[in-house]
Amino acid sequence: MSTAPSAGPAGTPRALAPRVTARRLAVLHASGLAALLVVMAAAALVGPVRVDPLAAWLAPPDDPTRVILLGARVPRIVLAALVGGALGLAGAALQALLSNPLACPHVLGISGGAALLGIVAMILTTVPGAAALGLGGEASLLVVPAAAFAGALATALLVQSVARSSGRVTPHTLLLTGVVFNAFAAAVITFLNTLADFYRAHGILAWVVGTLTVRGVAWTLAAATTLAAGLVLLSASARDLNALGLGEEGATSLGVDVARARRAVYLAVALLVAGAVPVSGMIGFVGLIVPHVVRLLVGSDQRLVLPAAMWMGGAFLVVADTAARTVLGSTELPVGVVTALCGGPFFLFLLRRQATDERGALR
């Protein structure tokens, strides 16, 4: 390898090949969507009850096979895709923002904060008298995600500020803050659980473990809306997130308003989590694993990583939920158990690898 500055074959066209253009991004989105649809279609063929999809499609509206496919299975798969997409996207954004490969909404406690306020809102919307205040029934569709959003945003800012006030934001401080907050949130949720009407106890535990819950079209649309908003916001922050790969000072010297970029990312993450948590609770590890796999596939350019993480996150959760729906026959497993089974060992592996990296200091 020549080291003389002027040497080398001048003008290699490969170095000139565009990295990211509108067209390349469109191709990425199209192939991501196509891959996700294939996974979803495959998932629709699998379930505790055997259904012939073609026959079910052609059957009259109240035919059981049609109801199973279109009433029970497909809405669940759509929800899994939306929630997984939101978690994958949020995880990729947080890992880029914090320069921390172990970050994800769950590990940082952001999902916990959203679940906490979401549950409080859910309980409040159903106590006697809530309806009189205009909070009951249909209004919970607005109140619960709004509370989850507030919880997610507040936690993100809290975690950030605690970690910063302890001086330099080290990855471990941040994670520790998140873990401690998670424990706190779980304690409060458990406390509420013991107070709550028994009829709601299952639902509350489902939030903690992570269970996909088809609450109805409106809730699914809400998750889709926040996902779209988060995608747009984060896509518009991708350039800044790339620059942040050089550290805060490096990004500042490239003209990035680091504080504004951070606000934009936290806002987007809070939106994504607020859409996902009311219909799925605290599903862990999707936001952790998916960005790593994505970076192996498309490199580290956030303009590609972010959308790819969304599509892959969706596909991953569809697969995980299909396992949750089917492995025990007619009895369901919470999907959070499946993702944790995949994610726990993966997390330890990453932790180990990061420790090794820090010893062998990349300069």
Binding site: G47, P48, V49, P61, D62, D63, P64, R66, V67, I68, G71, A72, R73, P75, R76, T126, P128, G136, G137, V179, N182, A183, A186, A187, T190, N193, T194, L195, A196, D197, F198, Y199, R200, A201, H202, G203, L205, A206, V208, V209, G210, T211, T213, V214, G284, R325, L328, G329, S330, T331, E332, L333, P334, G336, V337, T339, A340, G343, G344, F347
Partner: protein
């Protein structure tokens, strides 16, 4: 708080054990305690004529003591005990059925503490026994458990004959219901105790047996576990004729219909047999089991208006407001 539903809470919690464990949410631990370990072993025997001071840890025991005419011997009950309504009002409370208050109970100087296995009371029970307080834990899963429990309680409160008579009376009521049910076409029944996830009554439970007595076929019995978490498509495939839904709580009616609307192929949905279950009796393995069977018969075999109670069966009593934190 209904006794029977607590077991399903334990089931849901242990199913989700792994996720919180791995993230380190150890604070969930207390909820995950294994209820089954508190068995009837080490049960002391009552003196002839029973004992004078009794603490009840659960509503079903409290009801039984009153049904045996020995309510005056109750010196402490759980915060969830609400029946008979007037009689229980003046009795001191000794903690919830999930977490009995050891100190309060000791201070009440009971001759015996009567309870059922719950996920939360195991430690308290051990502690009470270590302190020399006799604790008797009775079974409550099946009808057979219930008969045994009624007789055990009868011995402790000094009314063995009353207990035998009570059991005989309930069994007679069940026979009557069974006889009426024999004239009806059997209907497939789904008994829901929790949504998100959908938790239903499974096999090996007195509810399952009572559904059978009342001329129903419990579709939840086809799945593993006493409180299986069913997937919706399994429910659609099972096509229950009646859905008895106790999970909607106070906002039953409209929400119940909205929840089930997408599954129009289910006969219970299509033909309007969604029953909001609001009766405590249905969930308490105590003296009102006979009433519960009558209520179930009405819920299963009535058509038209939900909650209708034809044939002179008693209309289910409305459920009291959920118990709040006790001062």
């Amino acid at each position: 708080m209904p006794d029977a539903r607590r077991a399903s809470r334990g089931a849901a919690a242990s199913g989700g054990l792994l996720a919180p464990l791995i993230v380190g949410l150890v604070l969930l631990g207390p909820v995950l305690a294994d209820a089954a370990a508190v068995a009837e072993e080490r049960a002391p025997e009552p003196p002839p004529g029973g004992v004078a001071r009794v603490v009840s840890l659960v509503p079903s025991v409290t009801e039984t003591v009153f049904a045996l005419g020995r309510g005056d011997r109750l010196v402490g009950i759980s915060t969830f005990c609400d029946y008979p309504p007037e009689a229980v009002r003046s009795i001191p409370r000794a903690g919830s059925y999930l977490t009995p208050s050891v100190e309060t109970i000791v201070a009440l100087r009971p001759d015996v503490v009567l309870g059922v296995p719950t996920p939360g009371n195991q430690a308290a029970v051990e502690q009470l026994r270590d302190l020399g307080v006799p604790v008797v834990i009775v079974g409550e899963q099946t009808l057979e458990d219930t008969w045994r429990a009624l007789r055990t309680i009868g011995r402790w409160v000094g009314n063995d004959d009353g207990a035998d008579a009570l059991v005989a009376r309930i069994q007679e009521t069940l026979d009557q219901v069974r006889a009426r049910a024999a004239r009806e076409r059997p209907r497939k029944v789904l008994f829901v105790v929790g949504h998100d996830p959908l938790v239903v009554a499974g096999r090996g439970l007195f509810i399952d047996e009572l559904i059978g007595v009342a001329g129903g076929i419990n579709v939840g019995a086809a799945s593993a576990g006493t409180w299986p978490r069913l997937s919706l498509e399994t429910v659609v495939a099972a096509a229950p004729d009646v859905i008895i839904d106790g999970a909607m709580g106070s906002e039953a009616g409209a929400n119940l219909a909205a929840y089930w609307r997408p599954y129009a192929s289910v006969p219970a949905v299509r033909e309007g047999r969604l029953r909001a279950q609001t009766s405590e009796a249905l969930l308490r393995p105590g003296p009102r089991i006979g009433v519960a069977a009558q209520e179930l018969f009405a819920l299963i075999h009535s058509d038209g208006e939900p909650d209708g109670a034809p044939d002179g069966a008693p209309r289910p009593s409305s459920r009291p407001a959920p118990p709040g934190p006790q001062a």
